[in-house]
Symmetry: C2
Subunit: 324 residues, 2 copies
């Protein structure tokens, strides 16, 4: 436990297995373009055996945010479950090498480290088939005063709700946070994830979260709204700081009656939108953890997301915000 | 054993671990820019712990050639040693997914699958620190009439001489090849490797090889020459088909008194020269295996190398030669 930790991530620890595919491949495995589907180990083996040669790199939504936060110069820590296998060692290495404090030991038995088969179509769209493996073993027992410590904020991802003890361990983390004066942030992951766990998310946002980072679709899935105006009106009723990202429309920060709009930066060419939301969260939380005004937080988030969509891969460059 | 195999590769089966580094990093670990150094498992652990976040992908010199050969539409097979660990599974998956027939079972014990820490400097130059691990277990017992079969050609890499039974198993493979009418090709790997094993290479080239693919530096290291004219004069004395690559100067094919020069293709921007020689070998051997005239073989090799240097990563696109 490091007392000076600014941001602790709690999320699914995943190694991405990336390969280019044609549209026939998605038809063959029955995956809608752009979807994220959870698969079991048999399905994972089947898909992998059909996939072409791949590239492996550490991934995961909030894990990417914590990696980015550390690369910006923030003090990050991480709770997520890998196995003591080679992919687990790769995941932990990649996080540790960025200065992230890994709080859990790898599991010495059970399922293998999680893999997300990231199928990249022509045009760059990504379809994910995710085998959660060892992540499913993240449990209430892993969330303790010692592993959580007292960071300035902790950041959960919606995907944690996809694991058996996820909702309960999120609640437990929030309780520890409340006792220690740690802020609780939630990233809503994706709109399908929000639909899977809508009531539980609504409860968590209302009663436990201090900060929510989400894109517009996720907010609509949470609230049942279909216009940004209607969504903003409802978000004002929560005692929560919302950062809502809107792709080329920029982002909007809502906190009760306060609203701040941040325009998107001009981009010559969008190479790969993967990780844009996670990068935004990294920049936003970096500003927040360093007591910057909300306008700066939004600007940092935008700046990080803008960098990430102009490259292949989801991770933020070291020291990106040093000059802004 | 597949009777229709055109090209069987015998080489070190390696997973590349790629990361960007600054020049201080190379100084710190004492690695000359652009070098390839063999390291043991302690050194591998030490370097990996100091490296930043990495990307993993299957690599290895002749393994890349066989992967490329298969992607061009050739029938490829492979002998190389991995362990039954996750990196070994990744290596075998990536080869198999391209249609390469893997001839050996993974080792069920001993050292882990080989990793090459590929340190990419600003400007794209690569410095490699290679832990051979399971490759070192490739032995005479793995080279049998059943594992070699009777391909049209087999292709060895110079790096095989870095493993204990390497020179002996290369000889054994060449003997099996001679019995079956299989041509024996050798890729000289790198000039330092040639210097490490010069006498053994000279003997193998003179007495066992039918085809040698090498760059100019490797040829000079083998012959002790320092001009291409002097080298070509000496190469005419061997009963061997030589394909000598010369970067932007193209390549020259020498077979006794025959000579054929192939100009390099114009390239707008060189992104990454890694794998250019392996890609050339794939194109050249694809032409050779399909009974094309030597001028076509050289043209195919050049075409493949030209594609590979204009992208990040060493592997040839599927069907690259379909339209030429």
């Amino acid at each position: 436990m490091t007392n000076s930790t600014q941001l602790l991530g709690i999320s699914n620890a995943i190694v991405d297995v990336l390969a280019h595919v044609d549209s026939d491949f998605l038809d063959m495995i029955g995956a809608p373009l752009g979807s994220m589907t959870l698969i079991d180990s048999d399905q994972a083996e089947d898909i992998y055996s059909k996939m072409g040669p791949a590239t492996e790199m550490s991934g995961g939504s909030v894990a990417n945010t914590i990696a980015g936060f550390s690369n910006l110069g923030g003090s990050g820590a991480y709770i997520g479950k890998v196995r003591d296998d080679q992919l687990g060692a790769i995941f932990n290495h990649d996080m540790t090498s960025l200065g992230v404090d890994i709080r859990l030991e790898p599991a010495s038995g059970g399922a293998a480290t999680a893999r997300s088969h990231v199928l990249i179509s022509e045009g760059g769209q990504r379809t994910m088939q995710t085998y959660l493996g060892a992540c499913l073993g993240l449990s209430l027992a892993d969330i303790t005063e010692s592993t959580v410590g007292n960071p300035k904020a902790l950041l959960l991802e919606g995907y944690v709700w996809d694991i058996a003890e996820g909702p309960a361990l999120a609640k437990k983390a929030a309780e520890i946070a409340r006792t220690n004066g740690t802020a609780v942030a939630l990233s809503l992951s994706d709109s399908y994830c929000v639909e899977r766990h809508r009531d539980s998310f609504e409860d968590f946002v209302r009663n436990d979260a201090n900060i929510v980072v989400a894109d517009e679709d996720e907010v609509h899935a949470l609230l049942g709204t279909d216009s940004i105006t209607a969504a903003i009106e409802q978000l004002r009723n929560y005692d929560v700081l919302f950062a809502v990202t809107r792709s080329e429309k920029g982002s909007v920060i809502i906190h009760g009656e306060e609203t701040f709009e941040q325009a998107a930066d001009k981009v010559d060419e969008v190479v790969d939108t993967t990780g844009a939301g996670d990068a935004y969260a990294a920049g936003f939380m970096y500003g927040w953890a360093n007591d910057r005004p909300l306008s700066d937080c939004a600007r940092y988030g935008t700046y990080c997301a803008t960098q990430v969509i102009q490259q292949l891969g989801a991770r933020i460059e070291k020291g990106l915000l040093d000059d802004i």
